[in-house]
């Protein structure tokens, strides 16, 4: 029981990050019917951007009071989000808009996306240390337990709590934004029927830009959360990016709540299944099988429910 809960919390922590990244894939897919394969590098930029900015304020070996930690977290999330948003915005301008203007085929977008992905990851490699391990200053003891789950010995660490709570806040915020504001309605309008949305007075180009900015902000913030938890490098985006993409497909690509559910579910399943029967002996197959489990789940869902869990949107009329 204790192990089960510990792995569940670990899964939710990983899953929250996947969900935040997955939202970027699904939002862009919604308005452009395009997988932005460079989104994993938006996530990476968020980590490096916040690393630079947070590094200006805190240094190694300091131990900060709780309110200072809170401030640093805010600063990290904000700077990760800003850098992610800026990179995503630029990406759309440089790599996609010119192709859209010329009515290029889908394959051209895909190649452009992959090119940008390599470019950004190699640029980060050049600017920072290629392939080597960067780390945020250790300004507080992240692994200290904040509370024990009643009725078991399972604990939630500080960083786990921070990751889950901040991800949930951002997702609730996005959900409200999309369903309850004019900006949200313009995004949904363009996603459902762009030419008709234009007839209502919606500027398609602007809406697409804003969609990239929102997705980029969430991905960049996830980059900070990931960076502050683990060591990271210029190729850090690859595995979480592929998994978040899988999570978006799992939930039903183009569906916002689907991406949230898909991300959390993938995180939980990939951590619980390999550690079964959760008795502390490492499980029958072991944690090194995490990635395999994640992709087996993806394949199974796609075999039995090709549009994903909430994927009715794919079936919509063009």
């Amino acid at each position: 029981m204790t192990d089960f809960l510990n792995y569940l919390v670990l899964g939710l922590t990983r899953g929250s990050m996947y969900a935040l990244i997955a939202l970027g894939y699904t939002l862009v897919y919604g308005v452009l019917q395009l997988i932005n394969f460079a989104h994993s590098e938006v996530f990476m930029s968020g980590a490096f951007g916040s690393y630079l900015i947070v590094g200006m304020f805190v240094h190694d070996g300091q131990h900060l009071a709780w309110w200072q930690v809170t401030l640093v977290m805010f600063l990290g999330l904000l700077s990760g989000a800003l850098v992610g948003a800026a990179v995503a915005w630029g990406l759309e301008r440089v790599a996609y808009r010119p192709l859209r203007r010329r009515g290029a085929p889908k394959l051209a977008f895909l190649i452009s996306a992959i090119g940008m992905s390599f470019f950004l990851s190699q640029l980060a490699g050049k600017l920072f240390n290629r392939l080597s391990q960067n780390q945020f200053p250790s300004y507080f003891d992240q692994n200290k337990a904040v509370f024990t789950i009643p009725g078991s010995g399972a604990t939630v660490s500080r960083i786990q709590l921070i990751v889950i709570v901040s991800a949930v806040i951002m997702m609730v915020f996005l959900d409200r934004l999309v369903s309850g504001t004019k900006l949200g309605r313009s995004i949904r309008g363009v996603a459902e029927d762009a030419p008709t949305a234009a007839l209502m007075g919606i500027d398609i180009d602007k809406t697409i830009s804003r969609t990239f900015i929102i997705g980029g902000a969430l991905g960049g913030a996830a980059g900070f959360l990931f960076g502050t938890t683990f060591v990271f490098s210029n190729i850090m985006g690859f595995i979480p990016g592929v998994k978040a993409f899988a999570a978006a497909v799992l939930g039903g690509i183009g569906n916002i709540r689907g991406a949230m559910i898909g991300g959390l579910l993938l995180g939980v399943v990939e951590n619980l299944v390999p550690t079964f029967p959760w008795n502390g002996s490492g499980g029958w197959i072991g944690l090194q099988w995490t990635d395999v489990v994640a992709f087996v789940v993806l394949v199974l869902v796609l075999v039995f429910r090709p549009t994903g869990i909430l994927g009715e949107r794919l079936g919509r009329a063009a």
Partner: protein, 238 residues
């Protein structure tokens, strides 16, 4: 000066010339019908007026102001509201949200107009919280017209509102178009259903392969032999 003046426009899809010098006008307060067979260029004409397409030659003026080349999302601010072919409601939004989309150009939807739309189409009130994709064809057409009204049109562009609907529903819709026009909205109506469109219209134009081949008042066209043979006869036969 007419409210809408379309002056010798040419519209191309790549190498295809869909409109080859089309000229017509619509006066304030009129219903003008644009008739023609499938592929004649009716939809292309409306899309060009609403800014979805830009003409390669010619001019379009609205209220005396050049509007050709202004994109659709800006043109709507002049009060040109287009109900596109095939209705194009937002299927994953509710009826209420679709109506709100129609008023997107305003900070907030006008509640007086909203209430008038529901009065005009009581069915929309009954289906208010339902997803638009689950409505019948007639209801979707009503929603598409109601949505356009939310944008406070001066000129309403209707593209084949009768397409695929039962005769009874078509009559309802034409009655409502008449009512909308009587409330002061100018209407440019595209139809293949010539008899009903001409009964409603003050004037009409007939398009054939991208050119205007006939024009006149609704009555004149209704009794014109060529129209009777080409369009009304076709209707009786089919």
């Amino acid at each position: 000066m007419s409210l809408l003046e379309v002056d010798d426009i040419e519209v191309r899809y790549g190498a295809i010339r869909a409109l080859k010098g089309v000229t017509f006008d619509v006066n304030e307060g009129e219903v003008v019908a644009l008739l023609g067979a499938n592929g004649a260029g009716k939809t292309t004409t409306q899309k060009t007026v609403s800014g979805m397409l830009r003409p390669s030659l010619g001019e379009i003026r609205f209220d005396g102001q050049r509007i050709d080349g202004i994109p659709a999302h800006q043109l709507i601010h002049l009060g040109i509201c287009h109900v596109p072919e095939g209705r194009r409601v937002f299927p994953m939004m509710t009826v209420a949200e679709n109506l709100e989309m129609g008023a997107f150009r305003f900070k907030k939807p006008d509640s007086t107009i909203h209430d008038r739309v529901i009065e005009l189409f009581p069915r929309l009130g009954e289906r208010y919280k339902q997803f638009a994709g689950t409505l019948s064809g007639g209801e979707q057409q009503m929603l598409a017209i109601g949505r356009a009204l939310m944008g406070k049109p001066r000129l309403l562009l209707l593209d084949e509102p009768s397409m695929g609907l039962a005769p009874l529903i078509i009559k309802q819709i034409f009655d409502i178009v008449k009512e909308i026009n009587e409330q002061g909205v100018t209407v440019l109506l595209v139809e293949q259903n010539a008899a009903q469109a001409l009964a409603l219209a003050d004037r009409g134009y007939v398009l054939e392969t991208g050119e205007i081949v006939l024009s006149g008042t609704g009555q004149e066209l209704l009794t014109d032999d060529r129209i009777r043979a080409a369009y009304l006869g076709e209707e009786i036969a089919s």
